[in-house]
Symmetry: D3
Subunit: 136 residues, 6 copies
């Protein structure tokens, strides 16, 4: 029987939405104010959920302290107080939409987890806009 | 690989729970204070979630601006600051329980989305009572 | 030295904003959709705050259980699942704006508290619109 | 077609994480401050979700009043304002991790629901750490 | 007798903390990661509170629709989806700390309100860091 | 002109309400389930607010990093994952009501701040019960 354990975290970053091979006009038309040349920013709220079987001895699926450390090392240290477009390898060419950020986060955390654990990422760009990705 | 994009919205409405072919006594017994003849009301919080594949060029599943506009046209313009029982076609005979409101919202938004997108509706009647519907 | 103790509560009610001696046109112009003839509704969140000196023996300013009971008897039993305009004495002629509801609640709770306690009422009509009243 | 209805509740309890047949050193190493001999505590937020088909006559899947009463009788009356390790049968030998508490709650509520209803339990130990269990 | 009416709003912006006549080393030492050369960003939550006497005829202190429009025109249209340091007149030389942003917002809204109304600004830079300013 | 800067924090602790020189019956009567002999617990949310004048050069009233460190050293390290009655000097004889905890926290932080700064403490025992203390 499977259980899910979730850990909530957050990071603050600047970004802009822009497709490099499009004209400025097309970028403006598709992305609107999100295309602003000098960037804008968000407090991203992140919920990392892992799913698997409870260890009968400890009663843990995973120690949330471990999950907290993985999130800090892979996500917060990389993206917090950064400009996603300029300061990170991941979004130098990839457009930092909430969708793409969630997929990147999923890949970064996936390689740090045991294979028998499933992973789900929920990313809030604002309280009203959020995305969810499970790698399926 | 599929991703989900969600947009949160809200509307304020009056309603009462009542089954027309029941006696007042039975309605009172089943629905309690929710049957109050002069109506009561709620701030309904609505989360609309669409699921599908990311467009590789834009990095979007769907522009949340589009989702916002669909929700405004189909849901807010129809139900916000209304009496669900008296002012709307949808609930003239259908009992406006949270369950039925969620199904009605699902049907209204479903017809505005491309067929390849899945749709999930989460509706909060209060912070403590909420329903979820996926059309499955 | 003074301390404040707050208790959060809520009630769900229907209402409409309307000034009886105005024309329908003027009411519509001033109150917009809030004037809808068949009412709309809200989940009202209420925070009741009392201020005074800590009892040295108990370490309480006031038992929040007492505050909870006063709020239930004076506010929830009176307004919850009601139509404020039609079902309550307080708003038969008084326009049930958030401001007026807060003043009415303040007066109802004030008479149940010891004179040496100060009282503040915070009333959320929605998450985005709220009022505060201290009787000063 | 299936719908889910959720009811949010909460209880406040003390607990400590400890495996009886481990040494104090190992317990301290694995559970850290959560192993504190004199206990610590949490405001547990609980979301109980049941899934099934809407009753066509009432428009209800389940009356949330019934759900509220079941949660009160099975969970709040048993765990609220208690020490999970000392005051409850369920955790006298079972380690009260969030995972184990969720499974225990699932079993307690499962036996009170009709067989045709599915059950999901979401338990927040803190705003940042939570678990989810469906019995699958 | 005075009442307060509040309206919550939000805007998303990029910024960096930097004092122009300081060395890069001193800026880094004082502002840490908030000094990041390529900016970072926030979802700023804003609560605008006005205080005064209720109009006896309407039952309003102020129509929150008016407050909403003033906030949109003065704050959202100016700061939302912008880089505070590069895209706005207000912070070209003024360091965009939460404190300074709150004072700037207070001044912008103050000139749009009647003199008999008091004004308070609460600005959340994150859920955990916020400031409040009343012009006193 | 004064501004307020707030920092939100939290700690999880066990406690019971009990007056040592009262009989068990009187303690039970006054404090109800909060008197449970084996303790219960809470996630305490803490908002520390300091008020003073903005430094014109930095644009800061106080670096929230400093506030964060003071809260960690004085409050979290002392109370988090502890039994307030058994594990802390402060509540060995003082009844750990929310009121008394707020006063203790105020005194602990007050001695770490410059004299020209005012201090306010807001402490949430639950989402529905909270207290506020300013030392006046």
């Amino acid at each position: 029987m499977e259980i899910s354990v979730s850990r909530k975290s957050h990071f603050n970053a600047a970004h802009r939405l822009n497709v490099a091979h499009w004209s400025p006009e097309k970028n403006k038309e598709v992305f609107g104010t999100c295309n602003n040349a000098n960037y804008h920013g968000h407090n991203y709220d992140l919920i990392v959920t892992v799913t698997g079987e409870i260890d009968e001895e400890t009663g843990y699926l995973i120690d949330t302290k471990i999950l907290k450390d993985v999130i800090k090392e892979e996500i917060e240290d990389r993206f917090d107080h950064r400009n996603l477009n300029l300061d990170t390898e991941e979004f130098r060419t990839l457009n930092p939409t909430a969708e793409n950020i969630a997929v990147v986060i999923w890949n970064l955390i996936r390689k740090r987890l045991n294979n028998h654990l499933k992973l789900n990422i929920k990313l809030y760009e604002t309280e009203r806009n959020f995305v969810e990705y499970s790698g399926n």
